[in-house]
Symmetry: C2
DNA sequence: GTCGCTCAGTTCATTTGTTGAACTGAGTCG
DNA sequence: CGACTCAGTTCAACAAATGAACTGAGCGAC
């Protein structure tokens, strides 16, 4: 069966609730990456994985699940399927601009995980993961941080408001 | 049955693969928020939801699922369960510092969703969600952006490297 | 004092999603 | 020919999500 077929929308069964039509950017992103394994598939793509076997061996994910995730990411325009040989036809999964833009989300997850998910009693932040991000050219360490693009300041959760702009 | 009981670890059944022990901040964060509904539960918490009925009615999530998600978020230290009345004892779910730190991840998801998930043909970014973030006090619009804390510059995906710092 | 109401869940049968292991099929190498 | 690679597919067993109904403590009105 061909991958990249259009996603099933109409159904008379009860399926897992979808968020991809909700009028909220967080909900739609959740729908996209809420599938188990999907953020890790994207992580591998950023780390250089291109072929099915790359993803399969590096993640040790069930092959059927992996097929399904890669198909969806292609459907969504995060990855693109590019032939790298004929006879037999084989493809690579490459990041698209949209897929590349997703790195910011993974970077924020990286920062959160690094700050908060390395201790059993976590009353305070304490970085501790055994990996770090750096610049390929300079070697300088990179610490992802989410700021307001308008001010350059870190976000202040308590000063937050959500505004409906239309509809 | 009490919530906040320690999570089941040992099992002889085949369960969904867990990532919470992986030596990667993205994997651990994925494990935490990869459960369907969880990012939206956190979103509601940031928008002011506190009681079970708030989450249930605002999200229209299955109540059993919601119970399970809230229990886990409490277990993980993202939310804390605080009594707000006796007779009968009732609790509110409040954000902890760790939970509050998670806003950065949601903000990055917000930005990505706003930029990329509002058009059917998405070759280029085009903001379009019907909601926007603003500062409660000044009213100024807020545009989340992920930067490198050391330079203040947006992340350059292509210049990325991951370094093992130990073990 | 019992009827209706609220809140915070629990229970349960059904359906959907994930897993692991084995299998397929085109093609290459020796 | 036989072993091997790559990229999947198939399938049965099991885990997780769903929706609807139910529970149970307590309140407030009549």
């Amino acid at each position: 069966m061909t991958s990249s077929r259009s996603r099933l929308r109409e159904t008379d069964h009860v399926r897992r609730t979808r968020f991809d039509d909700w009028p909220c950017p967080i909900a739609r992103t959740t729908d996209l990456i809420g599938d188990w394994w999907t953020p890790l598939v994207m992580r591998q793509a950023f780390l250089g994985a291109r072929r099915f076997e790359d993803f399969a061996s590096e993640l040790d994910a069930p092959r059927a699940t992996l097929t399904q995730r890669l198909d969806r990411l292609v459907d969504e325009g995060m990855l693109r399927r590019q032939p790298y040989q004929e006879r037999p036809v084989r493809h690579e999964y490459r990041l698209t601009p949209k897929g590349r833009a997703f790195w910011d989300v993974l970077a924020a997850m990286w920062r959160f995980g690094d700050d908060w998910l390395w201790h059993d009693d976590d009353q305070s932040p304490a970085p501790g993961s055994p990996v770090e991000l750096s610049d390929r050219a300079t070697g300088d360490r990179i610490d992802p941080l989410v700021v307001d693009a308008n001010t350059g300041e870190p976000l202040d959760v308590r000063a937050l408001r959500v505004r409906l702009t239309r509809d």
